[in-house]
Amino acid sequence: MTVTTGPGNTGGTEEGSGARQPGGPSGTAPAPSAGSEAERPAHRPLPVRLLRRPELGAVVGAVALFVFFSLIADSFLRTSSLSTVLYFSSTIGIMAVPVALLMIGGEFDLSTGVMVTSSALVSSMFSYQMTANTWVGVGVSLLVTLAIGFFNGFMLTRTKLPSFIITLATFLMLTGLNLGLTKLISGTVATKSISDMEGFDSARAVFASSVTIGGAHLQITVLWWLLLVAVATWILLRTRAGNWIFAVGGGVDAARAVGVPVARTKIGLYLGVAFAAWISGQHLLFNYDTVQSSEGVGNELIYIAAAVIGGCLLTGGYGSAIGAAVGALIFGMANKGIVYAQWNPDWFKFFLGAMLLLATLLNAWIRKRAEATR
């Protein structure tokens, strides 16, 4: 790229003042430069554009993993196996997508794993104790979960403490509350079954049903997952809010200086995470009728790992929702693929750790290449 200076500068005077006519810049701007614009391609060639996509590394990894398990595990390619893989991926992916958006916005959330459990517990216990329609519990759970998300975002923007600390505190408090309140109310560490309560069947249809397409069971969570990916991608790439998410993650001071509502954007991101935690929590409840209060601990790191494998930068400002979804798919394939290959599943976590490291190195290398080929 070049910066042309020289004789144009004095001419720039008239052009500059011309630009200040109402409606001038947007309407008539291309006219004086149309000639030079035509000589140059408006877009970079396809390979370069592909290299610049944050999810490229994850897609390559996912394809490699798919081919690998197809070759070594005979049962991997069966439709039933693939639908199991998709189901497991979707339970991670529903959370990984908003977590990725949050990370692009430059923040963490360590409370996501237990927040899912909290959401399920609130829904279950409210319905049971109040003998209300399960949909009332589902609604109350939505409000409570959003309130937790708002608390995270509000505390973060108010105190200016790192999100790591704020959400670590929320994580610990929720872990304690989940266990303590459940024991206090139900007398045990699990909730009572609500499967015979009013509205259970319709709620199960929304959060935990499955459809059979050509012999394959497709869980409804897969649809929720795809819907969230589509909405998140739309927000990120095509709306003003998406522009602000990239900006608050990539340069918060610059964003503030040009008038981006930083606090509102970050609180919105935490609300998005909470909304997804609500969907996951309701699935947990309506899939099994009861909820274990100690569940969910450790899942927050899985969601973050999926987002990172999908190309999100830990430092913010870079990443994609599609990448996070592919990251979740990699988790699903690895988890179930090991079973289908009849390996000892004890090795799963080691495998994941190695993959996270590889994916991050690959992503860093691709990004360097992409910047070099500009």
């Binding site: 500059g16 200040r20 109402p22 522009n243 602000w244 610059a254 040009v258 008038g259 400002g317 500009r374």
Partner: protein
């Protein structure tokens, strides 16, 4: 977006766009600024010079809406004001370009150009950024300022420091700023890059903007400045028209004047 221009009312020639008089700012017990006066006229460049810690950045923060003054008056086009936020300053026509934090490095040039003022099309949940217009306008507006980018999709962090400053200036001009505040635009740049940026500063001035140029480089200030305000430890050390001040005198003042003479005595062998 671009309608926010100054086609409003013809202003009397002598009414300054921005006028500070007797402005002070305290951080707790510490006086950061005391009794500062400054005027900015359309089509003129006011340079604010001072050493590190002289209060330049505090002054800039008051004008750009990040901080509020504690005493004195701050007028925008004759109307007394207290700015609550950078957004409010922008809406009143004051755009600030900061040295390091003018842009978000990882974002493409076109996203940076419209950041905070993105044009949209559509309605309700389908309301979206007008990406085509944003890309096209970015290219043509930069070209108008003499910056020829091959690709507005490249991350702005891949541009040189001078180019990034120039993009930020072009952005302020496009969005109809009446006052452009530049914080040390040439501080981190080499000689050639500085020259490029100063040309854009002059272009903005010629387009009728009032410019506040914060710098500690008297050579750059004297090249483009019409008026010079010298700060020293939070107070005004002088205020001059260009005609009243030779470059040598400005350099001497900025180099520390009598302090430098003392220093040369101490260092003599």
């Amino acid at each position: 977006m671009s309608d926010r221009k100054h086609e409003d009312l013809p202003m009397p020639e002598d009414l300054p766009l921005v006028e500070l008089s007797g402005v002070s700012k305290f951080y707790g017990n510490i006086k950061a600024l005391e009794d500062i006066s400054l005027t900015v006229h359309p089509g003129r460049i006011t340079c604010v010079l001072g050493d590190n810690g002289a209060g330049k950045s505090t002054l800039i923060k008051i004008v750009s809406g990040l901080h509020q003054h504690d005493a004195g008056t701050f007028r925008i086009q004759g109307e007394e004001t207290r700015l609550g936020s950078p957004r409010e300053a922008l809406d009143r026509g004051i755009a600030t370009v900061y040295q390091d934090l003018a842009v978000v490095p990882l974002m493409p040039v076109w996203r940076n150009f419209f950041l905070g003022s993105e044009p949209t099309v559509g309605w309700g949940p389908l309301r979206r950024m007008d990406v085509r217009t944003m890309r096209r306008t970015t290219r043509s507006e930069l070209l108008r300022m003499g910056i020829d980018l091959r690709d507005v999709d490249q991350p702005i962090g891949t541009l040189s420091g001078g180019e990034r400053q120039s993009v930020a200036i072009a952005r302020a001009v496009h969005f109809g700023a009446k006052v452009l505040v530049l914080d040390e635009p040439t501080a981190a740049l080499g000689v050639k890059q500085s020259g490029v940026v100063l040309k854009y500063v002059a272009a903005a001035r010629d387009a009728g903007l009032g410019v506040v140029l914060i710098t500690h480089n008297p050579h750059h200030a004297h090249l483009v400045g019409d008026r010079f305000v010298l700060l020293k430890r939070g107070t005004m050390a002088g205020s001059y028209e260009k005609a009243e001040l030779e470059l040598d005198e400005l350099v001497r003042q900025m180099a520390g004047g009598s302090e430098l003479e003392e220093l040369s005595h101490e260092l003599r062998r």
